[in-house]
């Protein structure tokens, strides 16, 4: 990670139909860094991503480093089940030669599919037929395929099994190290945030707290973010969580 900011956000506000969805949000993401965004449902996390990507109107400043490639992994998508679109064609959207892709395309694709634990047979499947977990893995492979400088992941583990949850965060970590990809991740998994992110942004319409997770994620901050019952704070480390360096875990539990 360098101190060179790849994204700078200053006083970002989003108002939709006269409702303030986000107010005065400021933070930055350094090249090769990992920032996690946490917050309760309806806090405006997805809206923050949409604003950063220019998908909704906003006020304030969003400055991306010029010429960088952004990969976006939304929370799934709804494709008409009857639409004859194969998973392969979903990847071909990334190739200018949509009708006649070069042979190297398939090889490169194989590699990215293996990373997310998908078999190449999935490429022949109809896009609308895939399960939620398969779609999520496919979207991640799709974002990786473009060799983005920065990945925006909106709850990437939603709908996937525990095993893949763990694999995914290992994978993201290795991409960050090997490819120098910067990560901006919306996550409900405080353990992962705690161990993997260099910076955490606690959001509830506006920024409630931000900073390095070790200093930021304390009981007071989490209570003001989620309320008294929204998270679980261990008084002591349970046996299965000894590997964890911090006693915070989500109420529903997670692979630590």
């Amino acid at each position: 990670m360098t101190d060179e900011p790849i994204l700078e956000v200053e006083h970002l506000s989003v108002t939709l139909d006269d409702v303030h969805v986000l107010r005065d949000v400021s933070f930055h993401l350094n090249r090769g860094g990992a920032v996690a965004v946490i917050g309760p449902n309806g806090a405006g996390k997805t809206m923050l991503f949409r604003a950063l990507l220019g998908l909704v109107p906003y006020t304030g400043k969003v400055v991306w480093q010029p010429g960088i490639k952004i990969g976006y992994v939304p929370q799934g998508f709804n494709v008409d089940r009857s639409a004859p679109i194969t998973a392969m064609e979903f990847f071909l959207l990334l190739s200018p030669a949509f009708w006649r892709p070069p042979g190297s395309f398939a090889n490169h694709l194989d590699q990215e599919l293996r990373l997310v634990g998908l078999d190449r047979r999935i490429l022949k499947k109809n896009l609308g037929e895939l399960s939620g977990g398969e779609t999520q893995r496919l979207l991640i492979a799709w974002a990786l395929f473009g060799y983005s400088d920065v990945l925006l992941l909106d709850e990437p583990t939603a709908g996937v099994d525990i095993g893949f949850e763990h694999t995914l965060y290992e994978l993201l970590h290795s991409i960050q190290t090997d490819r120098g990809t910067s990560l901006l991740v919306i996550s409900h998994d405080l353990n992962v945030v705690y161990r993997r992110a260099q910076h955490v942004v606690c959001l509830n319409q506006t920024i409630v707290c931000q900073g390095p997770p070790v200093e930021t994620l304390n009981a007071a901050a989490l209570t003001s973010l989620y309320g008294e019952t929204g998270y679980y704070l261990h008084d002591h480390e349970p046996e299965q969580e000894k590997k964890c360096t911090h006693p915070i875990t989500r109420l529903s539990g997670s692979a630590c």
């Binding site: 949409r50 990507l53 220019g54 998908l55 952004i70 976006y72 939304p74 998508f77 494709v79 008409d80 009857s82 639409a83 004859p84 679109i85 194969t86 392969m88 064609e89 979903f90 071909l92 959207l93 990334l94 190739s95 200018p96 949509f98 009708w99 109809n126 896009l127 037929e129």
Partner: protein
């Protein structure tokens, strides 16, 4: 019935292919009904052109492009119920058109006829149909991107201008077919080949190709049947297409997953 240069066959073939090429995108964008209503806007265009003694084709082109721009504008306004407004606006233009068009031209405007054209005019229509079909193929990737996810498309640099391109290409193809098929039925010609092909295709590339081929085949076969039995070409083409659609349903069921 003799028409110079076999114009109906050539128009049937090339405009049929063009209709088949754009149809999959219109269907998958769930714009089938908007597309159908759009062709009605051609009617006041025909009326005005007849009043000013201009070839109705030019009136059709101007009105359809204007209609495409109106739909594009409406789609960008989330608070306006697009379907209701399109329904009202386009039915109104149908009503205005009927009142303005001289009685002897009404049936031809609504349901088409075997067109008698100069060679120059025919070649212009054929060339335009070929160019528009080619554009559909060249822009398949961009159109598909926007069908799958407008957000992902925009992040990858394919913004709303591709929605506008789709609407404009669509309205131009409708304009090219109106002389043969008529304002009421031309919208259907763009939907029918795509509906059949959707039942029997497993990939988008196969879908677009098959829909184009079916568009050409149904239109030329419809023209041939119409000529042989002295039937209106538009109605014959549409009914033939719908018959094929019904035949394709068992295949769709077999493919049903």
């Amino acid at each position: 019935m003799h028409t110079p240069y076999h114009a109906p066959f050539w128009i049937g073939l090339l405009v049929g292919i063009a209709s088949g090429s754009i149809g999959p995108f219109i269907l998958l964008r769930r714009m089938a009904l908007v597309g159908d209503a759009l062709s009605h806007v051609a009617l006041p265009g025909i009326a005005l052109a007849l009043m000013y003694h201009v070839d109705p084709f030019y009136g059709v082109v101007v009105f359809l492009i204007a209609a495409a721009l109106v739909i594009f504008w409406l789609e960008g306004r989330s608070r306006i119920p697009t379907d209701a407004i399109v329904g009202l606006l386009f039915t109104a233009s149908l009503a205005i058109g009927i009142l303005l068009i001289p009685n002897e031209d009404v049936i031809e405007s609504l349901f088409g006829a075997f067109p008698v054209l100069s060679l120059q005019f025919l070649l212009m229509i054929l060339l335009a149909a070929a160019v528009l079909s080619t554009l559909c193929y060249l822009m398949t990737r961009q159109f598909l991107f926007r069908i799958i996810s407008t957000d992902l498309a925009k992040v990858n640099g394919f913004g709303r201008r591709y929605d506008l391109a789709l609407l404009l290409i669509f309205s131009m193809i409708v304009a090219l077919g109106i002389k043969l098929v008529g304002t009421l039925l031309m919208g259907a010609l763009t939907i029918i080949p795509a509906s059949i092909a959707k039942n029997i295709s497993r990939s988008m590339r196969a879908y677009v190709l098959l829909s184009s081929v079916l568009g050409g085949v149904i239109s030329t076969a419809g023209v041939w049947i119409g000529e042989t039995f002295r039937l209106l070409p538009g109605a014959t083409i549409v009914l033939l297409g719908i018959a094929l659609f019904l035949l394709s349903l068992p295949v769709a069921r077999k493919y049903a997953r």
